[in-house]
Symmetry: C2
Subunit: 341 residues, 2 copies
């Protein structure tokens, strides 16, 4: 009995060549047998398959990549993955990728442009087929992104890049307007706002929607009640603290996932909020929002649709047609209220 490579020795990698050597045939025959090519003798094929199976042969993705086949790797850049919205997004995207036999490499940017850049570099190195990313706030003059073969798909925010990008974005202007109207109907006159900084497309757009909503509701903007900053938990927490301390303010609308969580966290520690003398409109719809008090009214973000949008763009065969972008609608939702039209 011959001693096959890897069976008794410290297992070297099993390759088509090692299999060919073991079986005393050419590595091309092994290649053909394994890839289902018709021109292989049935017995030979059987022997190869069996041997490969026994030794646990695994095709090298590196070799495939080097030959110019795709890597079937998708990159995903998110600020973090603890926030339930991002977690849901990552979860759904991972499942979708898996179903299409792709792999997902996740990088967390913490909304930091430097980390984002590093992540993109690493993804270029592994030749990811595409990258879905929530663009981090970009300081003026900072380096642009180079696509270099990867398809770039921006999520939620959009940023002008030199290389071609597509985007899946969110239209939340209507929902934010509805939120203002809802508060106005409820008798609120002095509504605050906390949102991402105006460096961000989303920051600009949401603030604009808020202001437009105020005007339509016939309310004045209280400039001291509008807080913008980096789109973080701390921003929300701190800003809501200030708003809660101002007796004149009686409600606040959040314009961002992390900001919303931070603001809620600040509220939960406030007797004023728990006493019901202050209203918070959240952003996003984590499962637990409805368990807090009587539930929290929110600008509802349809995660699945955002994932589907990205997957459709990825499936699209014409990566160069920048017209094929996706826009998804957010919706204002009040707990316990039937969904009308």
């Amino acid at each position: 009995m011959r001693h096959f490579r890897g069976e008794f020795l410290l297992a070297q990698r099993v390759t088509i060549k090692s299999i060919a050597h073991d079986l005393g045939i050419s590595h091309m025959t092994v290649s053909r047998a394994l890839s289902g090519h018709p021109n292989v003798n049935e017995e030979t094929r059987e022997a190869v398959l069996q041997h490969a199976q026994k030794l646990g042969y695994v095709r090298s993705a590196a070799a495939a990549a080097m030959r110019g086949e795709g890597t079937r790797i998708i990159g995903l850049l998110l600020p973090n993955i603890v926030n339930e919205f991002y977690a849901r997004y990552a979860n759904a995207l991972a499942l979708a990728c898996d179903a299409r036999d792709h792999q997902l490499i996740i990088h967390l940017t913490n909304d930091d442009h430097v980390l984002e850049h590093r992540a993109l570099l690493r993804l270029q190195q592994v030749q990811a087929d595409a990258v879905v990313y929530v663009p981090a706030p970009r300081p003026r003059g900072s380096e642009e992104i180079r696509g270099s073969g990867m398809r770039l798909i921006q999520l939620l925010r959009h940023r002008q890049e030199t290389c071609s990008t597509q985007f899946v974005s969110l239209n939340d202007a209507v929902a934010i307007g509805d939120a203002v109207r809802h508060l106005a109907h409820g008798g609120h006159r002095n509504i605050g706002y906390i949102g991402g900084s105006e460096d961000l497309s989303s920051g600009r757009e949401r603030l604009h929607a808020f202001r437009k909503g105020l005007i339509q509701a016939g309310l004045e903007e209280r400039t001291d009640a509008v807080h913008t900053g980096s789109p973080t938990f701390e921003t929300g927490r701190r800003a809501v603290g200030a708003l809660l301390a101002d007796e004149a303010i009686d409600a606040v609308i959040c314009g961002g996932f992390e900001i919303s969580n931070g603001a809620l966290s600040g509220c939960m520690e406030s007797t004023r909020y728990r006493g019901g003398h202050f209203s918070l409109i959240g952003y996003g719809n984590p499962s637990y929002y409805r368990w807090i008090g009587d539930g929290i009214a929110t600008v509802d973000i349809p995660v699945e649709e955002l994932v589907n949008g990205a997957m459709e763009l990825l499936a699209d065969q014409h990566p160069d047609a920048p017209t094929h972008n996706k826009v998804v609608q957010a919706r204002f939702v009040v707990p316990g209220r039937n969904i009308g039209h």
Copy 2:
């Protein structure tokens, strides 16, 4: 002026060879220049660096992998990533990996052995350096895992594999015992339990700890109040529904993250729970547990320590020493109560 490859044409990949060609030198010189080898003329090096910079040269990870350098890729297999515990784990691991210039490929298994197997195969193909995984329940006779060059690190649960594995596990027996004692002190006499099935090491161990706790507290086990099943949200939700319907039962302890969330979800819809006539001990410590009612007592899982444990194992130079495993302690925590000893 010469037309450099990629500058005007449809950008082909920039390689050391293409750069060498552009500059009319050997690709070896380019390689040396880029990798900081001393034996390169200063001017040549400068020219190479500049040209590489301009064209956006990126080193091919595939070529590196094929030469047998590591891939610096870590695989992570989790049931899902929406559950806040897993999300926190993934988040922390991603950050730790990034800090060490590694990349994280995430696969979701949904606790399904088939999906787990597929994911491991894909990770072998890309030659991941290591895989951290929460072993899925394994049906008898199902295929074993082959490590094939990857280091395998089991998380939370441990499963006997043919190939060598290490683990970072959790000792929650004490905490579960404390939970029973706490309920007993609070006057509860009929305590239910919901946990993962006994196919899982964690399922067995937690149930055992619960039973031991009952005995130590001088309580009888009510067999009809012990529910085990797949470690899912639905299991928790359904089981807690049954327990809430049984007036004789006045408390329940959860033995699993998803189960705990499901049970809580069931409780939140129950007037009995909201009326305060039923106690729930959660498993894990999502941020929002403390915002629900007066907060929820839980078996607290130290995520950071679990991540650190895995990172230490990964950093370890002796992958063959199976003695180097990590065990992390869970702790029973009651909201609003000072942490004593």
